[in-house]
Structure formats: structure tokens, C-alpha cells
């Protein structure tokens, strides 16, 4: 978004006109921004309401109740579920990166017969709905005693993820072929080229893919619902939050919102720390080839 030529000339117009222009420029955007923020503001405010007040349509907490965030820990095993979520998101991110980078490299830089056909297979796997594979996988996992544990969520990520492979391949292809070619002429093996040339040059892209995969797991609902939904060892937070409403805490909107905000907070922190990576990464998924 840099280097845009602004059509804005020098402001020589009188103050009133400038104000009017400013208003016309910003009013629609501000209105839309408020709409976007409304649900979040309501959630935050509700999290500070008393049980009595939450869900009544009040907009402003009176009195402010700061105890809801503490109460979440007694209403549900929040700490345990948080740990599960961190394990799922963290380990599956590591697995995805470790297993997808070499495949993407082979698709982007190695020369072999059937490469384009194999890439189409990756695309097809990317578009395959989870529902089509989840029935046999559920049967398989329950045979080997994995249902109720985090294993069905984490282990598959160590075998490559189609979407990450696709993205990484696109990124790898933007690296000039001369660089890898030069290393090859110098007698470097492919693994060495990948580790010493490719990965150092595409660190931001790999970080973006890692962030996407972390968020995917953090937000994932369908798979944890299937495999850990009734687990003794606890769920991930995404599932546990929805069960809070069903476990004798009916109409406890203030607890739900408090728990939900604590679930959301790490994501927002990540977002503000790595905003550039996110926004540019998303623009890249749609645009850059």
C-alpha cells in the first residue's frame, strides 16, 4: 500500500470546506467501522456484567463485575482445555511446517516426471471436504484407541498439509531459479539447497504459513468435536466453550463472553504482533502466483 499517488492536492481551501471534505471522506468508513466493532464491544461489555444483567439487553454494565474471568475457571476446566488447545495448535504447526516444506520444494524446484500431475493431486486434496474423509478416519482412530485423545488432531499434520504445500510452493517459485541453480553447480545437494538457500530466503513466507496453520488449529471446531468431544482428558477450547452453555450454566452469557474473550485474546495478540504478515499473506493467497 505504499507509493500510492494521492490525488489530494495542497489544502488551500477554507477550513469549513476542508471539514466537509473530511466528513465526506470518513463518515461512511467510520459508520462501517462501528458496525464491525459492535459485536466485539457488546461481548466485552457483557463479560463485565453480573449474571442478573447479562442477556437482558443492557448495553452498559452496572455494576461492573470483574469476577467473571475468575469464575470461568470454576465453571469449566479452562486451564486444562487451554493446554489441550496449545498442544494441538503448537504441535500441528510444527508438524505442518516440517512435513510440508520439503514437498513444496520438490514441487517448486526439483525436476521430475509427473510433477504437474502431482500438483493437481495436491490441489484436489486441498478442496476435499473434511466430511468425506472423517467417517472412515473416525472408525480407524477408534480401532487404534485414539478417539478421546489429541492424537487424531496432531499426528496427521506430520504428513503434510495440502493447503500449506500449495502456499509454500507459490512462495518458493518467487525465488529466482539462478540462486538454487548456482548452489547446484557448486555441488550442493538438494537438502542443503533447501536448508541453506531456500528456507533462509523465504522465512517470512514460512512464518505466514505457520501462523495460518496455528490459527487453523486454534479455531478448529469440527475435528476436535469429533475426536475429543466426549473426552475425559478434556477438549480444546473451541469445543469446550460451546459446551459451557450446555453444562448447567444456561443463560450465563457473562461467563461465555469472559471465556470467549480469553480464547480470543492470544489470537488478537498474534494478529497485532504480526499484522503485516497476516494482511499480506492473505492478499498473497488470493493474488500472487
Amino acid at each position: 500500500m505504499t507509493g500510492r499517488r494521492h490525488a489530494l492536492g495542497r489544502n488551500r481551501s477554507p477550513l469549513g470546506r476542508r471539514l466537509l471534505y473530511g466528513l465526506a471522506e470518513h463518515a461512511p468508513a467510520v459508520a462501517v467501522a462501528l458496525c464491525f466493532l459492535l459485536p466485539l464491544m457488546i461481548s466485552v461489555l457483557t463479560a463485565f456484567m453480573t449474571q442478573h444483567q447479562a442477556g437482558t439487553g443492557s448495553l452498559w454494565p452496572s455494576p461492573w463485575d470483574f469476577g467473571n474471568f475468575r469464575r470461568v475457571f470454576t465453571a469449566m476446566p479452562f486451564g486444562r482445555d487451554l493446554l489441550n488447545t496449545v498442544l494441538y495448535a503448537g504441535l500441528s504447526t510444527i508438524g505442518t511446517i516440517v512435513s510440508s516444506v520439503p514437498v513444496a520444494y520438490a514441487l517448486a524446484r526439483l525436476r521430475w516426471r509427473g510433477r504437474e500431475a502431482f500438483f493437481l493431486v495436491v490441489l484436489a486434496a486441498m478442496m476435499l471436504p473434511a466430511q468425506v474423509t472423517s467417517l472412515p478416519l473416525y472408525v480407524f482412530y477408534s480401532h487404534i484407541g485414539w478417539v478421546g485423545t489429541l492424537k487424531p488432531l496432531i499426528v496427521p499434520s506430520f504428513f503434510g498439509d495440502a493447503f500449506s504445500i500449495f502456499l509454500l510452493r507459490q512462495f518458493f517459485r518467487t525465488i529466482p531459479g539462478e540462486l538454487t541453480e548456482a548452489a547446484r553447480v557448486d555441488g550442493a545437494g538438494e537438502l542443503r539447497i533447501l536448508l541453506r538457500v531456500m528456507i533462509p530466503m523465504t522465512k517470512p513466507a514460512i512464518a505466514a504459513v505457520g501462523l495460518f496453520s496455528f490459527l487453523y488449529a486454534w479455531n478448529d471446531f469440527y475435528n476436535p468435536l469429533l475426536y475429543t468431544g466426549n473426552s475425559q482428558g478434556g477438549q480444546t477450547l473451541a469445543v469446550a466453550l460451546t459446551q459451557l452453555a450446555k453444562s448447567g450454566h444456561q443463560n450465563a452469557y457473562q461467563l461465555q463472553m469472559a471465556a470467549s474473550l480469553m480464547f480470543l485474546l492470544p489470537v488478537l495478540v498474534l494478529f497485532f504482533l504480526a499484522q503485516k504478515v497476516f494482511v499480506e499473506g492473505i492478499a498473497l493467497t488470493g493474488i500472487k502466483g
Binding site: 520444494y105 472412515p136 531459479g177 466453550l241 492473505i282
Partner: protein, 333 residues
């Protein structure tokens, strides 16, 4: 940048692509096969275990009366499951109708809204990044948290209806009214459309300013400028957004499951998935209910295969139909 747009869309559609410029092979020698295999091996194993085997097994299950966890002998029943779906299940057809509703209504609206908000952002000169952050922020909210937020916001006696009441506008029942439940989900989808918005705004800001200036000199109005300059430039993004949105809408699950599950706490039963009045019964929620609540594995597998075929067919039709409407600059294709 525009040529890369063309290339990416070509890749997504699976059309044969040309090697990129600067990538021309100097040494056409091939990498040794065992090196390639070593790089591919984790994914090849994964593909076989987590994709190919399950897809084949689902097809097989769909032809049997298999019930996971039951000791009943598995019997081959031919196309019975499919016949039951088509002729004896009204849940199935309700789920199909609701899902098609989402594909036809939600996906275009979401695309249009992303386009509109992106356009708003490009119009702002100062503070553009602030708006972009705010518009994008809801996309970061996990779907489950978003659904819970909207349940509070759209509670029939909740904050939004209170605000609407102040202005004397009607107070719909949102998630608890069958006529409003799907539109409420659409509202939620619009709220979280920030990712598409970012792609649109990048494409819009990429259009050379000179084109608009030239059009101004020719006396073109804003509508004409949009149709002749902006629209062709963003047509690959529209295409991308509609295609991915359609595939997503076919599998629409989380928000619907959370919303209709929570609105339905009093019943405290999974049987009433799709509350209210089955207006939120979508294909994936029905499949989940049959496969993982009732463990009618064979029956649910038939549903899964039909979903697979439907997505595949719709994708092919969409790609064919849109070929004429998507403009790729640079004459790449």
C-alpha cells in the same frame, strides 16, 4: 502484479500453466528419483492414509449398512442408502435446500460486501491502514467465539434489538425465528469477510491511477469508470471469492452447529440440530448427526459421497461458466 493474478487463477482452476518467466530450465536434467521420493515421502504416506484410503472407504461404506460401534454384521446393500436419502428422508431435502440457500444468497452477498468495504477503504486517503485493520479484525475472531458473540448480540431481548427499538425499527427474532435464522448467519458471514476485503482492496489499489485520469478526461461518469476500469481489474478476485466461498458454503458447519446448538439448550439434546424448525439444518450438520450421533455410518457415507460429487460438479460448472467473465490483463491466456 496483474500477470501474477492471471497465473494464480489459472493454477487454482487447474488449467495447464506455462512456466513462469525467469524460470526457464537451463539444465533439463532430472533430479534423481530417490531424492524426489525422499522429499515427497511424508506427504505420499499422508495422502494414502488420510485422503485416498478414506475416500475409497467412504464409497465402500456407502454401499453397506455399516454402523460404527455396532456388532451387527456388515451387509452389502447396494444403492439402498442413496435410495433412502432421495425418497424417504425429508431431513435430507431440507438440509439440501438450506445449504443451497447459503450458496446462492450468502456467497454473492459476502463477495459484494467485501467489494464494497474494500472500495470504501480505497476512497479514504488518510488513515487507510486503521480502517483496514478494523474491517479485517472480525475475520481473526475464531468462528466459535464469533457465533457466541452473535448469540448475545442477536438475543431477541438483547442489545441489538434494544438499539433497533430506540429507532422504532422492527425487532426480529434473529436466531430464534426460522425466517430470520439464515439471514442472521449471513450477517455473521459479512462481519467476518475481512480476508476477501483485503484481497479486493489490494487489487483495486493496483489499478494504475492514469486509467482513471484518462477516463476523467474522456468525461466518463463514476459508474462507467467502475464498469470499464475497476471491474475488469478485480474480476479475478470476484472469481476467486465466489469459487472458494461456494466450496466453503457447501461444507458450512461450525457457525450453524454452535448457533442452533446453543439456542437449543433447553432441549439439551442433539436430536434437534437445526433449531429453529430445522431452518439451520445444513448438509454438514445433518451428515454429522447421522454419522456421529446416530452412528449410521453407511448412510452418512452416502451423504458424504454425494457432497463430494456436488462440490466437484459445481466447481467444474462454475469454472466453465466464468471463463468468459473473468478478465486477465497482460494477455497471459
Amino acid at each position: 502484479m496483474t500477470t501474477t493474478v492471471a497465473r494464480s487463477a489459472g493454477t487454482v482452476s487447474g488449467a495447464p500453466r506455462r512456466p513462469a518467466r525467469g524460470e526457464r530450465r537451463r539444465h533439463p536434467s532430472k533430479t534423481r528419483w530417490w531424492v524426489v521420493l525422499a522429499f515427497l515421502s511424508p506427504f505420499v504416506i499422508g495422502l494414502a492414509t488420510f485422503v485416498l484410503y478414506p475416500v475409497a472407504a467412504t464409497l465402500y461404506y456407502s454401499l453397506t449398512n455399516f454402523q460404527a460401534g455396532s456388532y451387527r454384521p456388515v451387509r452389502f446393500v447396494g444403492l439402498n442408502n442413496y435410495r433412502t436419502l432421495f425418497t424417504q428422508s425429508d431431513n435430507f431435502w431440507i438440509a439440501v435446500r438450506n445449504t443451497v440457500w447459503m450458496v446462492v444468497i450468502m456467497v454473492p452477498l459476502r463477495t459484494a460486501w467485501a467489494m464494497l468495504t474494500a472500495w470504501l477503504i480505497t476512497r479514504v486517503k488518510r488513515g487507510r491502514n486503521v480502517y483496514r485493520t478494523v474491517f479485517f479484525l472480525p475475520h481473526m475472531v475464531p468462528p466459535v467465539a464469533a457465533a457466541l458473540s452473535f448469540i448475545v448480540l442477536l438475543n431477541p431481548v438483547g442489545p441489538l434489538n434494544k438499539l433497533l427499538g430506540l429507532f422504532g425499527i422492527g425487532e426480529p427474532g434473529w436466531f430464534s425465528d426460522p425466517a430470520w435464522s439464515k439471514p442472521s448467519l449471513v450477517l455473521m458471514a459479512l462481519w467476518a469477510a475481512g480476508n476477501t476485503m483485503v484481497i479486493f482492496s489490494a487489487a483495486m489499489l493496483d489499478v494504475p491511477r492514469e486509467l482513471y485520469e484518462a477516463a476523467d478526461l474522456d468525461g466518463a461518469g463514476p459508474f462507467r469508470k467502475f464498469r470499464s476500469i475497476t471491474l475488469p481489474a478485480i474480476s479475478p478476485v470476484i472469481y476467486f471469492s465466489l469459487l472458494t466461498g461456494m466450496i466453503y458454503a457447501f461444507q458450512y458447519f461450525t457457525e450453524a452447529f454452535v448457533v442452533s446448538g446453543s439456542a437449543n439448550v433447553e432441549a439439551s439434546s442433539n436430536e434437534l440440530i437445526g433449531y429453529p424448525a430445522r431452518s439451520l439444518l445444513f448438509y454438514s450438520t445433518e451428515l454429522y448427526q447421522q454419522g456421529f450421533s446416530y452412528f449410521k455410518t453407511g448412510y452418512a457415507s452416502a451423504m458424504a459421497w454425494l457432497l463430494f460429487l456436488a462440490i466437484f460438479a459445481a466447481t467444474v460448472v462454475f469454472i466453465r461458466a466464468s471463463r468468459r467473465f473473468v478478465h486477465y490483463s497482460g494477455g497471459d491466456r
